[in-house]
């Protein structure tokens, strides 16, 4: 077990190293790094100082080494636009994105799993078929357009919910959160629905196929033959068996949602990391882009590691050795 954990950690570390190499190649080696890293308004003296500071007169492998050591010290450059370390800027924006993703995942569980159960149990009736058909629509709706239509419907025509921003926040342990105010909730609802809709469709289909498959299994027939109530068969036998893959997918989607929140945050002007990334791309604020990629990769690698470990603990069939 310990060997497995260690091996997975080494693998994760190698992935991070590979990403740092790719990012380094993209930003420093391809094209003129000074062009990318020094703002256009910088004076000639600033330019020279920057070349010196970044060690751009050194051989490439030495440059990569210094990029790496600085990255390990948490220095991924300073934002041109905001004048503060890029990593600090992103960490400031993290709670907003995290909050949005958590609410979206909550919606996914609350809607996707029950609707999937219904679709799976009544798969030969119009209700079940309608739900399965509707889930294709959920997949097909382009995320950004769907968000705009939500704004049009609920903010412009019905005027029930606000269309942009984060609303009132309350400081919890020094972190501003909007989930503790009614105004905050009204602001988070539309973006969260927007972010969650594709995943609701995904979880719905996953649950429904699981139920459809489980319905015909021997263990369900046996439970029914024993005279166990349908309700108990569903909650104790079917649900338990199909929830493992569903929960895994939801866990894995956490990282994906952080990435996809860039779209939602742009549509709803939600002040999170994703909006920061898009703004930074517009303003050619490269250090922030680099820092964002490194940080999100880190989060991603960590989630994958945790999911793998949780899997190994939960399911004894999973071999703790590396797959051949």
């Amino acid at each position: 077990m310990i060997v497995y954990i260690l091996r997975r950690m080494v693998q994760s570390f190698l992935v991070l190293l590979a990403v740092s190499l790719v990012v380094f190649m993209a930003v420093y080696a391809v094209g003129d790094p000074i062009e990318l890293l020094v703002s256009a308004e910088a004076s000639d003296a600033d330019r020279q100082a920057m070349i010196k500071r970044l060690g751009l007169d050194l051989p490439v492998w030495l440059q990569y080494w210094s990029f790496l050591t600085r990255a390990f010290q948490g220095d991924l450059g300073t934002s041109f636009v905001h004048g503060i370390p890029a990593i600090e800027l992103i960490v400031q924006r993290f709670p907003a994105t995290f909050e949005l993703v958590v609410v979206a995942i909550g919606l996914t569980c609350l809607l996707g799993i029950p609707l999937g159960l219904i679709a799976g149990l009544f798969n030969d009736r119009p209700l079940g078929r309608g739900l399965m058909g509707g889930s294709v629509l959920g997949f097909s709706l382009p995320n950004f357009w769907q968000g705009m239509m939500l704004i049009l419907m609920f903010a412009v025509w019905l005027q029930w919910l606000p269309s942009s921003g984060r609303g009132d926040t309350v400081n919890v342990l020094g972190v501003p959160l909007s989930l503790f105010t009614a105004d905050g909730w009204s602001h988070v609802m539309l973006p969260a629905i927007n972010l969650a809709l594709g995943n609701i469709a995904l979880v719905l289909r996953l649950t429904a196929t699981g139920v459809m498959e489980a319905k015909t299994q021997e263990y369900v027939k046996f439970a029914r033959a024993k005279g166990i109530s349908e309700r108990r068969i569903l909650t104790r036998h079917i649900l338990r068996n199909i929830l493992i893959p569903v929960v895994t997918v939801i866990g894995m989607e956490f990282g994906t949602l952080i990435a996809y929140s860039t779209i939602t945050e742009t549509v709803f002007a939600w002040p999170g990391m994703g909006k920061l990334l898009i703004d930074s791309i517009y303003k050619l604020d490269r250090p922030v882009v680099v820092a964002y990629v490194m940080l999100v990769t880190f989060i991603f690698v960590m989630i994958n590691l945790l999911v793998d470990l949780a899997y190994a603990v939960l399911d004894p069939r999973v071999q703790l050795q590396e797959a051949p």
Binding site: F139, S140, P142, F144, M148, A259
Partner: protein, 309 residues
Amino acid sequence: MMQPDKPLMTIDPSKRAQPLQDTPQRRAILKKLRSKPSVKGAVIALVLLLAVVLLAPFLSPQNPYDLGALDLMDGRLKPMSEAASGMTYWLGTDDQGRDMLSAILHGLRISLMVGLSAVVLATIIGSLVGLVAAYFGGWVDTVLMRIVDFILGFPTILVALVLLAILGRGVDKVVIAIVMVQWAHYARIMRGRALQERKKEYIEAAKNLGFPGWRIMTRHLLPNCMGPVMVFATIQIANAIVLEATLSFLGVGVPITEPSLGLLIANGFQYLMSGDYWISMFPGLALLALILSINLIGDRLREALDPRK
């Protein structure tokens, strides 16, 4: 294995196996597909959309790129309103006075073109990589598949965004970005399929006949592995179109001179709050119709080809 200098025997071209001949399985699959009414609807919708895309220059009431034909006085007109020139704007106009119907017809063209060319390129590159990995095995396989795992480990939108942040805007660059995020899927599918095929007798026979590796790969292995790859490619067209639209919406996709549906939607976003819904809504509906019909066909195709059913 010993490799003779030239093939020991040649095959009569007329007797060469036709991998896509009419077989009982194929007929059963087509029958399954035809029995679904939603597939019929999707096929009809897709054919209509393709016809519209091909005939866009003849069908559209206005040339949306001809700035001289636009009248700023006609800006942001509601659907069905009449222009000063007497022409009716069925779907309204955008802020520049551009007829939305014409803009959508031309936008569909660009969206479809980007989606199709990206998928074709990604299929070719991915299939070749998968084929090479499966055929040679060993360290070639390990290295190629590690690269595939690495790319597939990240969400597509993030990889594409960062690529375009480096490459800059442009239709060709969007295609490159989509190919970069998609090829790995094909490589993985192709490799899985080719690993199964590789063990069969006909490959062994071809090897013993002394055919060179590239010939076995492209003439023998490839045609027999294309099935699952092509089904996957169908669905990926829809994904590529959505990705292009999303990137254009985010402002890193196609340039303003070649407005795809995504850019049209983005253009209408700023007028959405004042209730001018048509600038964003109609291009979005066209996009949705395109994606939905592709997805429905792809979904049923996968279902019909699923050997478990």
